[in-house]
Symmetry: C2
């Protein structure tokens, strides 16, 4: 019984790690759409979100099955419930990638992000993708140290977002209100992707150590 | 056993409805801070968020206890898991009220929202508060029809947000980039509060009917 439980739980965690990979791809394509104005990439992210939602449904069904049939208690129960939360975080990360793609699509054939701001936005996207990648290995390896390192990447994200505000509010900003709104919302979306990655990683810390690192959802 | 289960479940649902009331108050105070520039109101929202987080912890603990001790299956299990999701939504609504309060605080002694935009933002806040209030009674009365009506309120919210964009992007906008960024982010926060309210209400529909109305988290 316990062995079956742990095998099924491992399968769920593998599926969660696989979902990280799909979210990372969504962030990558959405950002490519944003920085090249290629609407077909944006469409691909938007239409692929159904696949991420479907993964979520399958993982949820597996978790419910596990709860129903194995009736775990104590730390096993908490682990399954943590998996249900991780899958919600990952689905939201997919939704946020769709929001990025939609801003890209809205401005085609122009680019939403003004030229001087592109390196910062590109770096935000890189940090977000890197965080998805590391979250996958945190899940696969139950890597508590790796999870804690994600907090550092999240700090870089916050710093990048502050840099976008500083640039937009400087006297030199000559790209108007529309671009500022786009960049402010894009910054919010990348920041939230990073927050959710940290949240997933922290749930792994909780699963392994029984301790919650700190409140993550801000 | 079943009676004890249902009594404890009812207690959790009552606590969730109580949390809706606290979130509604947070939205109300954050908006008052925003539209009057009263920093003490903003501070109150920010410091009161710990109480909402504490409610979340208590409800989560009760739900885990129920899962561990009563080992529900089938629809009872799904109901407890739905309660765990609702509590996450409600906590996020509290966090989003804090975001509104922080924008208010950032601009004191000025007001973040330019004068001509205030009626629209005030209406967004009213819709959000009304949605919190109705979500509480949807939970208390397991009111499926009331839950479905929340979708209409959510449409009004989306329309108000579109109106803010139209105004900011019109040639008449003379309030600069900073105000536009503030209003764009505020609109996002109120819209997300509304989305989470719809999400909570839809989980009640699921608990009562076994059907998910439609995908809510966008």
């Amino acid at each position: 019984m316990r062995q079956a439980f742990h095998e099924q739980l491992d399968a769920i965690f593998q599926d969660l790690a696989g979902m990280c990979g799909d979210v990372e791809e969504a962030v990558r394509l959405a950002t490519a759409a944003l920085l090249t104005g290629d609407s077909s990439l944006a469409e691909k992210v938007i239409s692929s979100d159904a696949a991420i939602d479907h993964e979520r449904e399958q993982i949820e069904d597996s978790a419910f099955m596990l709860l129903s049939l194995q009736q775990p208690v104590a730390s096993d129960l908490r682990t399954v419930v943590a998996a249900l939360r991780m899958v919600s975080d990952l689905e939201r990360m997919g939704d946020l990638s769709v929001h990025v793609a939609k801003i890209a699509r809205l401005r085609v054939p122009n680019l939403a992000v003004p030229e001087p701001m592109r390196p910062t936005v590109a770096r935000m996207a890189e940090v977000a993708e890197e965080m998805c990648r590391r979250t996958a290995s945190v899940i696969t390896d139950r890597d508590v140290d790796g999870a804690r390192e994600l907090a550092l990447a999240d700090e870089e994200m916050d710093g990048l977002r502050r840099a976008t505000f500083a640039e937009m509010l400087s006297a030199d900003w000559e790209h108007g209100v529309e671009a500022a709104i786009d960049v402010a919302l894009l910054g919010r979306y990348y920041e939230r992707i990073a927050d959710h990655a940290v949240s997933v990683a922290n749930r792994i810390v909780f699963v392994v150590t029984g301790e919650t690192p700190y409140a993550v959802e801000v």
